[in-house]
Symmetry: C2
Subunit: 432 residues, 2 copies
């Protein structure tokens, strides 16, 4: 074994970074044996140097992250700061000064992955980021390596633990959205400002990363259609149950049937209880992958948290260190298919629509005519009188597969009908 | 991109090999783009050259596999023959002549992995074998790479599709073992001679491979305790249901609590219905991995079949070809912990024991005394009169965690009691 250690700059020492540092210290011998050389924490860049950090030599702490990555002797920079800047500039500087990079930064990768990969390529260094999607679950490596000889057609995943916790709670207890969110906040599953999670921004960043890797093309955050789950109601869960379904916030990346384009989207959707994703509980994540030869695969585990994310970071660290020792480079960006990303209007799926309608003869015929005029074929309709006896009824329509644009046109036309009091909810039905 | 192709020798062209050849042909451009150079099928070694093989140039077919791997221009040999010889000799010859090897051969890897790895190391070549365990499910790569910075404590898996199909059928229809086996045979899930599957030999080979990789040590096939599932009865399933469990044939690899040894075993076991493995249906495989930092992960998918296995082979082929191009070497054997494999007697788990006993006072006290004398603590006992009114009763004992040797001693002593007519079944309880 080589005795000169590989030097690691740790950028950020929060929940994830402190776990990375801890495991690097407590498992130094294991890491050395697995890499073929010892790894040494050469510096830890933090914002608050006065904070006590157990197990980390205070002499390693610095507030000057730029100087740390510019030292010139850093083999690997581990970026666990998150957000766009200064993470982006630090990664670029690290590459320029000869370091490989391990990052857990989904937002940055989703927004600027191409430029980061190009910089890694230019300097002959590695950019690994297993921890950026679904925490500890091996997903990036299986997609970019294990399935490198296959054709992935769909990635369907629960990639945000906070929203899965909330939806699971609503499903299992009948709680409303706000009540479930409050519990998630109290338990530390949701942040004080839960917008990034509940409005699907976090999942959209992950969808962009997964779609790009799965389809060997570039998918940016802006390409991902996004709908949050803050408007999902207890009534939606009741409707889902009536269909043998539950509701999950899904990230869905699909190759079009003709193979000529891809789509990426995040929204709440009904999925059958028999689907493996339906039984993913609490804050767990799971990603379902469909490939030509492999068939249906699922990857399941904790999608967040300090230790699980650190596990993914350290797996990448071992791989990148091995590459440094062997003067090798791992797989870089694979975007050769240059498949365009189609807009949401071209996505084809099924829909569950609840309408509040006047309780009089002929309404169903009117509604059915609107669907037909827009080329949306109806699978089932359920009509029921309302409990409040106000002369209204509700109509639940489940469609066959239709383009999202056709469905939007249908809903717009439905809203113009005198007999339609309101569109109570529209939800996609996936995973069938 | 390099234009000179990498040359692949395909050893075996059965169910898996023909799929590998087909995808290499139909997806040649994708593979070239992902590898960075075209790959060319340089020869296909078969036993029956007269068989028509659609899509394969007849000029590539040879019956002389040894001459093919000795050509000297082969970059990668893909071994999908199975069994020990001639696969072993061909792989060794391939390494000697400068080729890297991709293999799907679980039996060979389990029996002789160390020698094969040593040969790969000696010649500076890669040995990849993702397809050897659980077909298309990425498992070897996640264990050897994604979790390389973590400490794996347990691997618990359904790694044989045939037996899972049979047990799932027994569970869902109440069928007996023979009836379920007959259906598996009729549907092509079980071979004419199902011994390797139902007696656990196939799963034991996979357990040896997984344990070695997970714990960075050497585990040979002989180290794996093995019990088949041909004696599981409909009554066992009824007992399992009464406990909120189902029965699966599990491969279980564990690190001892003190970290100083490991165990590997294959046997039928009860697992709670709430465990993710309980809902793995039909011929699917799934492997549950517990690691210090990552927590609980699960990998799920088709564990066999031509196309899924070919997907795994081709993922390895791309990785190995990329290494050849970059003059790099992927991870080799990691057995540095040299942890000893403990015998089955030292495994600690829970047990479900059904006894046929005389229906008279004092029997329970006698039985309980035997357990106590052997240091096996009882969790619950259920006593019930028999339907046949023959003066017998049945006693179902579920123990707390105990060493297998202590349990064996207990059962031996129970058999010697006059009041115990027989031990109807003993089954381990896992996954709690």
């Amino acid at each position: 074994m080589r005795t000169r250690p590989l030097k690691v700059a740790l950028l950020g020492c929060g929940v994830v970074g402190s776990e990375v540092a801890r495991i690097m210290t407590t498992h130094a011998d294991d890491l050395a044996a697995r890499i073929g050389a010892p790894v040494e924490l050469a510096g830890v860049a933090v914002r608050r140097p006065s904070k006590v950090r157990a197990g980390i030599d205070p002499a390693l702490i610095t507030t000057d992250a730029t100087a740390l990555v510019k030292r010139g002797d850093i083999d690997v920079a581990v970026e666990v700061i998150g957000g766009i800047e200064p993470a982006r500039a630090l990664i670029m500087t690290a590459f320029e000064h000869g370091a490989s990079v391990v990052s857990a930064n989904k937002a940055l990768l989703a927004q600027d992955g191409a430029a980061l990969h190009a910089a890694a390529e230019e300097h002959g260094r590695d950019l690994y980021y297993e921890a950026a999607v679904a925490g500890a679950i091996p997903l990036i490596r299986p997609l970019r390596e294990s399935l490198a000889g296959d054709t992935v057609n769909r990635v369907l995943g629960i990639v945000n633990g906070t929203t899965n916790f909330i939806l699971d709670k609503m499903d299992s207890t009948g709680a409303g959205y706000q009540e479930a969110l409050d519990e998630a906040t109290a338990l530390g599953y949701a942040e004080a400002d839960p917008t990034a999670d509940v409005e699907g921004f976090d999942a959209a960043a992950k969808a962009a990363i997964l779609a790009g890797i799965a389809f060997h093309t570039r998918v940016r955050l802006d390409d991902v259609y996004r709908e949050g789950m803050s408007e999902v109601t207890a009534a939606d869960f009741a409707s889902a149950r009536a269909m043998g379904c539950t509701i999950k916030l899904l990230a869905i990346c699909e190759r079009a049937a003709d193979g000529g384009s891809v789509t990426a989207r995040v929204h709440p959707a009904m999925i059958p209880l028999s689907h493996p994703l339906a039984s993913v509980r609490g804050a767990y994540n799971a990603v379902f992958v469909e490939a030509d030869a492999a068939g249906q695969l699922m990857f399941y585990g904790p999608g967040a948290g300090g230790a699980p994310t650190a596990s993914a970071v350290l797996g990448d660290l071992v791989a990148v260190c091995r590459n440094r020792l062997g003067e090798a480079k791992g797989p870089g960006e694979s975007a050769y298919t240059r498949l365009p990303v189609s807009p949401m209007g071209e996505v084809v799926t099924r829909y569950h629509i609840s309408l509040d309608v006047a309780d009089k003869p002929g309404v169903l015929a009117q509604v059915a005519t609107v669907f037909a005029e827009h080329g949306v074929s109806i699978d089932t309709v359920r009509q029921q009188g309302r409990m409040d006896g106000g002369g209204d009824a509700s109509l639940v329509v489940v469609t066959h597969r239709a383009a999202d644009a056709a469905l939007s046109g249908t809903v717009e036309a439905l809203r113009r009908l005198d007999t339609v009091r309101g569109v109570a909810s529209i939800m996609r039905v996936e995973g069938e």
